[in-house]
């Protein structure tokens, strides 16, 4: 299992916005079926790291291999890469003018060129998988935040991605709705999905993460199993951050 090549392999990744360097040389491998959990203070570059992985943000330097493809190589079809990397956003970003089913089928039809019947079937199955079989015809405005986020997850899953990136998927949710989304993520992990999750849900990290990565000021300060990072952090910066969030 250790010999399987990583799904995602990041080397020397740097990203600057103007004069400020936000990522300062990130090295990270994500292996198949692994759930990597990323924590760090606000502004440490967690979102930027995820967004560089599918080039929503253009990296300034370094290399990113996804499933063996160098996503920064000039000849790479970035759209083909993106449909195999799912992305789930803090603010859901569902298309408000389309039903839940329409949200999920759009890329199936426009990118994968599936005929309507087949696209509808795949989308229905994806919605069922996140527990929303009965919400196919609902518009995002008619759904709770938790339901919206699960539609967004279904939208990513329907394309059968090799990995899914989650950027604070539960941060915009009322506390009582967080559980339903985390449950879907737990199910995904059970099913062997490769995941990178930026989140503050430490309970989820302890229970489900294979590895926790602590970032600060654009660098990976420390990484390890959740028990080690939360229980016995090696670096002062990690300790300070963990202390702070555990107290809350």
């Amino acid at each position: 299992m250790q010999r399987e090549p990583p799904v995602l392999s990041i080397r020397g990744l740097r990203k600057s916005f103007g004069a400020t360097e936000v990522l300062r040389g990130i090295d990270l491998d994500v292996r198949p079926r692994e759930l990597v959990f990323v924590i760090g203070p606000s502004g440490s570059g967690k979102s930027t790291l995820l967004r560089c992985c599918n080039r929503l943000e253009e990296p300034s330097d370094g290399s990113i291999l996804f499933d063996g493809t160098d996503i920064r190589a000039p000849g790479t079809d970035i759209n083909a890469v993106r449909r195999r990397i799912g992305m789930v956003f803090q603010s859901f970003n569902l298309y408000p003018h389309m039903t839940a089913l329409g949200n999920v089928t759009l890329a199936l039809r426009q990118v994968l060129k599936k005929p309507r019947r087949e696209a509808d079937e795949i989308a229905a199955a994806a919605l069922a998988r996140v527990g929303l079989a009965d919400k196919q015809g609902a518009y995002p405005g008619e759904l709770s935040g938790g339901q919206q986020q699960r539609v967004a997850i279904a939208r990513a899953l329907a394309l059968e991605p090799k990995a899914v990136l989650f950027d604070e998927p539960t941060s915009a949710l009322d506390p009582e709705l967080v559980g339903s989304v985390l449950q879907v993520m737990r199910d995904l992990r059970e099913a062997g999905m490769t995941m990178v999750v930026v989140s503050h849900e430490m309970g989820f990290a302890r229970a489900a993460a294979d590895r926790v990565v602590f970032m600060d000021q654009g660098e990976i300060v420390e990484e390890g199993p959740p028990a080690a990072i939360f229980g016995a952090p090696q670096h002062a910066r990690t300790r300070a951050f963990v202390d702070q969030i555990v107290r809350h």
């Binding site: 599918n54 929503l56 759209n79 083909a80 993106r82 449909r83 990397i85 799912g86 992305m87 956003f89 603010s91 970003n93 569902l94 298309y95 408000p96 003018h97 759009l106 890329a107 426009q110 990118v111 967004a152 939208r155 990513a156 394309l159």
Partner: protein, 223 residues
């Protein structure tokens, strides 16, 4: 001296002028069917080009839009129709109107559509692109429908203005509604045909004015 009603609401003259005015109305409607889609297409091109990160692209666009929004359309028409021949370019009344309206309308529609596109949150674009949609498809399926919905009152209002502005074509002798009415007026020495033209404009535009005010109300309520 004839009375007010006889002068301005002379039914006999109106009845006589009506077929002629309806012919003019036909030309007006044709003109609308030509200049509105052209203007929207041009405006869409302006709005889409404006998204370019290059300043070299955006700069000329800003100049173009500002210029044609500030330039009086009547002067533009006269210039195209009567001025260009001096430069050795002879264009007919119809071409002059088509070009003049295209320049003016694409600037206005361009501003409206640009505002619409900018009103759609960035996350919509990013979500679409993250599922592998190409930029044109993300624009067509995700951003534009929301952009148009967000500025629908402005689009309808702008179109109303364009319909009214087609009467400017009368200055270059294009036989649209107002031109027909003025001809009838000079033939009958009576302003009733002009009043009749006004009534036709009112009847034609009123449903759209209603629609517009309902759209505006709905936007306010949904806010």
């Amino acid at each position: 001296m004839p009375g007010f009603v006889e002068t301005f609401f002379n039914l006999e003259i109106m009845r006589a002028a009506l077929p002629y005015l309806l012919q003019g109305l036909g030309t007006t409607l044709l003109l609308v069917l030509l200049v509105v889609p052209l203007g929207i297409a041009g405006g869409l091109a302006v709005a889409l080009l404006y998204r370019s990160p290059r300043r070299r692209v955006r700069w000329p666009l800003i100049l173009y839009v500002d210029f044609f929004r500030a330039f009086p359309p009547l002067v533009l028409l006269i210039f195209l129709y009567a001025g260009l021949p001096f430069a050795g370019i002879e264009i007919g009344a119809f071409t002059a109107v088509a070009i003049g309206f295209f320049l003016n309308n694409s600037a206005y529609y361009g501003e409206v559509l640009r505002a619409g596109i900018e009103s759609v949150p960035r996350g919509q674009w990013e979500a679409a692109r993250s599922t592998g949609l190409s930029a044109p498809r993300a624009m067509l399926w995700v951003v534009l429908p929301q952009a148009v919905r967000n500025v629908l009152p402005d689009l309808v209002g702008n179109t109303l203005e364009v319909v009214k502005l087609t009467s400017l074509a009368s200055v270059v002798a294009l036989p649209e509604l107002l031109f027909a009415a003025r001809q009838a007026q000079s033939l009958t020495y009576n302003p009733s045909p002009i009043v009749l033209a006004a009534i036709i404009y009112l009847v034609l535009l009123w449903p759209f004015v209603r629609l517009l005010s309902r759209l505006e109300h709905r936007m306010l309520v949904s806010r």
